[in-house]
């Protein structure tokens, strides 16, 4: 049932090359989920997210100082190793400083015909960020038009918005099924859904999601759910870790708060006569990344709500090594979870997760949760 999604994720480069061939369109690599994919779909450009390769590498040392997160260096390594040589363009929307360097070094050393830094506002709690972002989107749209040589009309924008919103809606519908006592999909499978949606044509992805949605309600997993876990924190596409927790340790991830998970698709845009304002509002109102979660800490309420809605019993808080944005939120999150009596386990991720030691820690964590159940 999930093979297609897994294949898309595992063979992302083959997919993109093939897509180019069959559509004759352009492919753009993006570095952050604040990039307004609606506008790219409107322009018939395929946006694909650039993620790491999870292999040790030695090519980024001259480009990014070692104090920045391993994820951003792994991402840059993909460029320097020419894994994405098929890209026609690259773009980033302003988020954390770390990943920005993967973009700028890529821009310097693997130039593409189109390169765009979108100053996505940080003060999303101020209404002024909406008008500002709208103006920035107008500029971005203009740049894309110039690049592709084609004007983007309101009808194009409507189409782009619809493609992306449909994808968000379908993913959310599937995720809602995970609220059930025995979710019909594992955390690992859910991960494949979101990750693959970031690197395939969403029209095809939507079709596959619709088919999946028809079959899922009847599906019964031949495994017990075990502890219902939430995972949250920095970027995470570490499939082997998720697999280990679910297959070896016997728990199930029922929800997450990651930019490679729910944060990516949780909010749809709300229709507006002014299409660009509609898109701007969506990115301002989406579940924030920690870099944009101030002055109020809105992530806390959102995480608490997910815990309640998904019957979460324990939380694994992960952080990419040196990830400042999450390091700045984690103590506050842990305090709230502690206050609610939710057990938490903190793990620091690198390019590859040390599965052996992590397994011992996860098992000890689950063991502790089970003991708490007994008394």
């Amino acid at each position: 049932m999930f093979t297609q999604f897994e294949q898309w994720y595992a063979k992302r480069h083959d997919y993109a090359r093939d897509w180019k061939e069959r559509s004759g369109g352009k492919v753009i690599g993006y570095f952050c989920t604040y990039v307004p994919e609606e506008i790219l779909y409107a322009a018939n450009v395929l946006p694909v997210r650039i993620l790491g390769g999870h292999e040790p590498q030695d090519v980024t040392e001259p480009h990014i100082f070692g104090m920045y997160c391993p994820f951003s260096r792994d991402v840059l390594a993909q460029g320097l190793k020419d894994r994405f040589s098929y890209l026609d363009g690259i773009t980033i929307a302003q988020s954390c400083l770390h990943i920005r360097q993967a973009y700028t070094s890529w821009d310097l050393h693997r130039p593409t015909e189109f390169s765009y830094y979108l100053p996505m506002p940080h003060n999303v709690q101020s209404d002024h960020s909406r008008t500002f972002l709208r103006a920035e989107l107008e500029q971005f749209k203009g740049a894309v038009e110039e690049w592709t040589g084609q004007a983007i009309t309101d009808a194009d924008l409507d189409r782009g918005i619809d493609i992306v919103n449909t994808n968000r809606r379908l993913l959310k519908q599937i995720f809602e099924l995970r609220r059930q006592e025995n979710p019909p999909l594992t955390g690992q499978e859910a991960m494949y859904l979101v990750l693959s949606s970031q690197m395939t044509d969403k029209r095809e992805h939507n079709q596959a999601l619709r088919e999946l949605l028809e079959q899922l309600p009847q599906r019964e997993l031949k495994r017990s759910t075990g502890e219902r876990l939430m995972i949250l924190g920095s970027e995470n596409d570490d499939i082997p870790f998720t697999e280990m927790v679910e297959q070896v340790c016997g728990a199930t991830f029922v929800i997450d708060d990651h930019c490679t998970g729910t944060r990516y698709f949780w909010n749809e845009s709300v229709p507006n006569e002014d299409r660009l304002l509609e898109i701007a509002n969506r990115y301002v109102d989406r579940v924030p990344c920690p870099t944009k979660d101030w002055p109020q800490r809105k992530r806390l309420e959102h995480i608490e709500q997910l815990i309640e809605d998904y019957g979460v019993q324990g939380v694994i808080v992960i952080q990419q090594k040196f990830c400042d944005p999450h390091e700045l939120d984690i103590p506050a999150i842990q305090k709230v979870l502690k206050g609610k009596g939710i057990p938490t386990l903190f793990l620091e991720f690198d390019v590859t997760a040390p599965l052996g030691p992590f397994r011992i820690r996860v098992e000890a964590f689950l063991e502790m949760m089970r003991q708490e159940d007994l008394f």
């Binding site: 040392e61 001259p62 480009h63 990014i64 100082f65 104090m67 920045y68 302003q94 954390c96 400083l97 770390h98 920005r100 360097q101 700028t104 070094s105 821009d107 310097l108 830094y117 100053p119 506002p121 940080h122 003060n123 101020s126 002024h128 960020s129 008008t131 500002f132 103006a135 920035e136 500029q139 920690p290 870099t291 101030w294 002055p295 800490r297 040196f322 400042d324 944005p325 390091e327 700045l328 939120d329 984690i330 103590p331 506050a332 842990q334």
Partner: protein, 435 residues
Amino acid sequence: MSTQIYPTEPLQLWGKAKELREKYYLNYRDAHKNGGLRWAGGAWSFDAVPAGLGRDVYSLTSEPYGATLAHNKELSLECLEASENAGYARDLCSYMRLYWGSILIDKYPYGGGYPKPDFIWQDHICCSHAKWYQVVSDLEGGIPMWDVDVAAGPYKDVTPAKVKYIVDQLQDGVEWLEKTTGRKFDDELFIEAVKNEMRSTSLWAAVCAENKAVPAPLEEKTMYSLYVLATLSKASREVADFYAELLAEVKDRVARGIAAVGNEQVRLMSDTQPPWAFLKIFRYLERYGAVSVGSLYTFGLEGIWEVKEDGSWGPRTTPMEKGLEIKTRQQALELMVDWNLSKPEWQHFYHPQLKTDMMLRIAKEWKLNGIMLHYNRGCEGLSLGIAENRLGLLKAGFPVMTFEGNMGDEREFDENMTMARVDAFMESLGVKKIR
């Protein structure tokens, strides 16, 4: 053999700079005694705005406060450990960890406990800026906070919409200040402060530009004691007046050929904040007759620059010098925002090439022989893109030395290794120790 090539003299105004700095910290601490207000925010905050609340409003700016704590070996370790024990990661901005530590151990280096601000007035371009004060507020049980996002893109791409975004946040901020403090905002005081800020930051750039002279009238270690005033209170009349006096003294030094380092034979620049507990690196350089004449950091953290008609870099002409009259709050805000967006140290946040280009300009116009890059683990904001700066400078043919350290956490600085690197760098430049 005498190693003295140029005459030297101590800087007359050095003592005054020290006094002003101390007064600043005491004024903040004692503000409440006379019914005044205390606010906290970054060295880049728009400090001219709270100045509109009255003449008895004092600030404590975060980064220089962190550097002050870093200077004090014992206290800094106590602060860093307190932050770590409270669960904050050791690789976060070291100024920030020092700052939080001083709250946690409740110690103020100028005597007494950490003086809690009445409100927070912060700007945001580095990921740590607004989040820094979220934690301060958490630790202090809640402090009213206003943050302004200034990350609207590089100055070369500035548009009215970008300026408006920041101005609008500040307009709302003024209302918020009135509500939070119960005081009426005085536009005249505000406009006066904007003018002070422009004078301070333009005059500081003028002082730095004097260092193009050979021999350099100032060396970087001294410049740290001078530029700091702009990081404390750039919108105050005292600081603007101080820089006017300083410019006169430095011009006089240049006219008389007075050197900062008498044996100057190699001119360097550094980059990012230095490891504050190890400023002796600069003294060590002097043994080679090497003088650091500044950096993009000392020049452009607060200094505001422009390209002059002859293509060289000089102090940005203020609106007042252009004969413009600033009449309204809106106009003052717009001018102030545009002014700040041109800050050199805000540009590399968008692309390292913008910084490399400015560094190359400095290297040429200030007649440098080499560049020392501090790969500063303590500051994610200013170390951003530094590896690409190194590559860009090397590509342009400038000798570059790098050393790792941390501006505020001396546990991450290896003194012997750094000195050995300096020796090797000097050797590669063909320079011998002269004393």
